[in-house]
């Protein structure tokens, strides 16, 4: 169901469908407002497997590539 957030291209918008990871992982992201059902956009992706900067609710957060791979999304529009 859905594709990993890390595979979105820049400025593409998507809806988060699932957080695929351990309890801690889910909790940490949700606490920072990155949750199922939210609309997310990639603002920037650093090269060499570096982190991606995403925007949720108008707020930017930098997360590691591994985390971005654990966030499942469904492109919208």
């Amino acid at each position: 169901m859905g594709i990993p957030l890390a595979e979105l291209s820049r400025d593409q918008t998507a809806r988060i469908t699932e957080l695929a990871g351990g309890h801690e992982f889910k909790r940490k992201l949700r606490n920072m407002g990155i949750r199922e059902g939210k609309i997310v956009r990639i603002l920037a992706a650093q090269p060499f497997g570096g982190p991606v900067v995403i925007e949720v609710d108008g707020r930017a957060t930098t997360i590691g590539r591994g985390m971005a791979n654990g966030i499942m999304v469904e492109p919208v529009e």
């Binding site: 820049r10 909790r27 940490k28 992201l29 949700r30 606490n31 920072m32 407002g33 949750r35 603002l43 920037a44 992706a45 650093q46 090269p47 060499f48 497997g49 570096g50 982190p51 900067v53 609710d57 108008g58 707020r59 930017a60 957060t61 930098t62 997360i63 590691g64 590539r65 591994g66 985390m67």
Partner: protein
């Protein structure tokens, strides 16, 4: 006395609110993790005194790093909770609010950043929010002080609030969803040119050149400002002081008092750098050589911090920092450490694991010279040209990176990925910048001058007692044999434990060649932290890790020193 503890997510303005309430000054900056420890302050409400506690920020009551642990400890101690909430980010902030309501302690909410909420088109129904949560809610703009008066007036109305009884996070999020629906309206806003520039600063292709430019500009400004202050203000001041102190010196005449207060004369003249008297070198080094650079550096640092650029820099440098066992947030201890190693080491608390913290703290101590030391390096090596200064800093940078690479390899433990909120860019407030710079400069003066006096005194007394000659001959095999320095340099290393800036200054009377100076100042940076840093290192790492870190420092300093000697001087 009743305790009011400030709780909230990182970077919502708690420290500014705290300063407003207590008048006490604490550092606030525009990035998460500025506050890593708690601060007490006092406030009177009518006749009743209250103790106010500023705590680090946290996203929830389950801590994920040391700074958040402190926040949770403080929560347990508070009698009243003042929950500072980011009005531009209400939904996410409410999770902590709901968790705080579970403690059943009296609570009230400061809905801060109210100005930014208004300009970004967010409307919040205060009455409705207050009714739903069952606690007072006061909109505030901590930066300007708007709403703080009302906030203070409402403190007695703090109450345990609505009992939602939501055991799981899912339930809480659902509840938050319905609260948001009832109280918040967001009007859509089109991206501005500012938004586009902000986005460009975090994309690799545009962001990396911008970062290099910004960092070079900052350091160039520090040098320019520092030099300017020395040439146009502090040196002229000391030239006014010279006749006075010469008068005193003549009046005292040769003897122990002259030795202590004025120090050695060079061709019958006082040499402010080399004389080593309390009233000559003891004043000149901190005030005319170090203070100007400290002021310039902290001014630039404050601009960097308050603009919100640091988290962007963390993002851009994350990949590099992963190679050396940290993640991008490691740049924060590095930058703070360039001012003073003590806050540099403290900032490692925002890193998640022991491995990251150990590496970050060790690297700061081993290869990041504090601004006081840097200023003296400029002063001592400057006359021989920029090339020698560059040699020192390139060596230290290489040590930073290679020690990090090795430690990352050999240390067990994990370095989790970065997960960092990027705050919006904000225009630094001149008032806050000035206050913050002054706070840090004042801290330097209060710490440095007593230690420098102590250092100068110690050097004089030990010298008179013949201890230094003994020390010199004891360490001669290392100092002269390995490093190619005169045996007297042992004294300098001893003084470096008290103050590194003083120690660098003490190299001058030794009449070293520029190459020897490069070796000496580099070893002086690496071999051991100053006593103040050593104390926090002990507190942060514990005795075992401290022993490891110390062994690494001594080993690396000898290796690097010997290598430099072989390259610069030969066998």
């Amino acid at each position: 006395m009743k305790k009011i503890v400030l709780m909230g997510n990182p970077n919502v303005g708690k420290s500014v609110v705290f300063s407003r309430l207590t008048g006490a000054r604490v550092i606030s900056s525009n990035y998460p993790g500025t506050t890593v420890d708690y601060t007490h302050g006092r406030m009177c409400l009518g006749d009743e005194p209250y103790e106010i506690i500023d705590a680090p920020g946290t996203y929830s009551r389950a801590p994920t790093n040391k700074a958040e642990e402190v926040a949770c400890e403080m929560l347990a101690r508070g009698d009243v909770i003042l929950n500072v909430v980011d009005a531009t980010n209400l939904e996410r902030n409410l999770l902590l609010t709901l968790e705080l309501l579970e403690t059943k302690k009296p609570l009230l909410i400061a809905l801060n950043l109210w100005d930014e909420a208004k300009t970004t088109g967010i409307r919040i129904d205060i009455q409705a929010l207050s009714a739903l949560l069952g606690v007072p809610v006061v909109p505030t703009v901590a930066l300007s002080g708007e709403g703080i008066r009302e906030l203070v007036d409402r403190i007695p109305d703090a109450r345990p609030g609505t009992r939602f009884d939501l055991p799981g996070d899912e339930d809480k999020w659902r509840q938050i969803g319905s609260i948001i629906k009832a109280v918040q309206q967001v009007s859509h806003r089109h991206p501005t040119p500012g938004d586009r520039l902000a986005a460009a600063s975090i994309r690799p292709v545009t962001g990396v050149p911008m970062a290099v430019g910004i960092i070079l500009f900052l350091f160039w400004m520090v040098r320019l400002l520092g030099e300017g202050l020395i040439t146009f203000i502090f040196n002229p001041l000391f030239e006014l002081y010279r006749p006075l102190i010469t008068e005193l010196s003549n009046w005292l005449g040769p003897g122990i008092l002259q030795e202590l207060l004025i120090g050695r004369l060079y061709d019958g003249e006082i040499d402010f750098i080399q004389s080593m008297g309390l009233l000559t070198t003891g004043l000149y080094v901190p005030i005319a050589m170090v203070l100007p650079y400290i002021t310039a550096f902290y001014l630039m640092l404050a601009l960097l911090e308050d603009s919100g650029y640091l988290p962007r820099l963390s993002t851009l440098s994350d990949t590099l920092f992963h190679r050396i066992g940290m993640h991008g947030y490691g740049i924060v201890p590095l930058f703070l450490g360039l001012g003073c190693n003590v806050p540099g080491v403290l900032a490692t608390r925002s890193l998640e694991t022991r491995k990251q913290r150990f590496i970050a703290a060790t690297l700061v101590c081993i290869s990041v010279p504090c601004m006081a030391q840097t200023a003296m390096i400029f002063g001592v090596l400057g006359p021989y040209g920029v090339g020698y200064i560059a040699m020192v800093f390139i060596t230290l940078m290489t040590v930073y990176l290679s020690a990090g690479l090795v430690l990352n390899r050999i240390m067990v433990g994990i370095s989790p990925e970065i997960c960092l909120e990027i705050p919006p860019y904000r225009m630094p407030s001149p008032g806050i910048i000035a206050k913050k710079t002054w706070m840090r400069v004042r801290g330097f003066l209060l710490e440095a001058i007593p230690y420098l006096f102590l250092g100068v005194l110690m050097v004089n007394v030990l010298y008179l007692a013949g201890f230094l000659d003994w020390l010199g001959s004891l360490f001669a095999p290392i100092i002269s044999g390995l490093l190619g320095l005169p045996p007297d340099a042992a004294t300098v290393l001893l003084a470096g434990f008290l103050r590194k800036d003083l120690a660098v200054g003490m190299l001058l009377p030794l009449g070293l060649t520029p190459a020897q100076l490069v070796i000496a100042v580099t070893v002086l940076t690496i071999y051991f932290p100053c006593v103040a840093t050593f104390a926090v290192l002990f507190r942060e790492l514990g005795i075992r890790d401290l022993a490891c870190a110390t062994a690494i420092m001594i080993g690396v300093s000898l290796a690097v020193g010997t290598l430099l000697r072989l390259i610069l001087i030969g066998v």
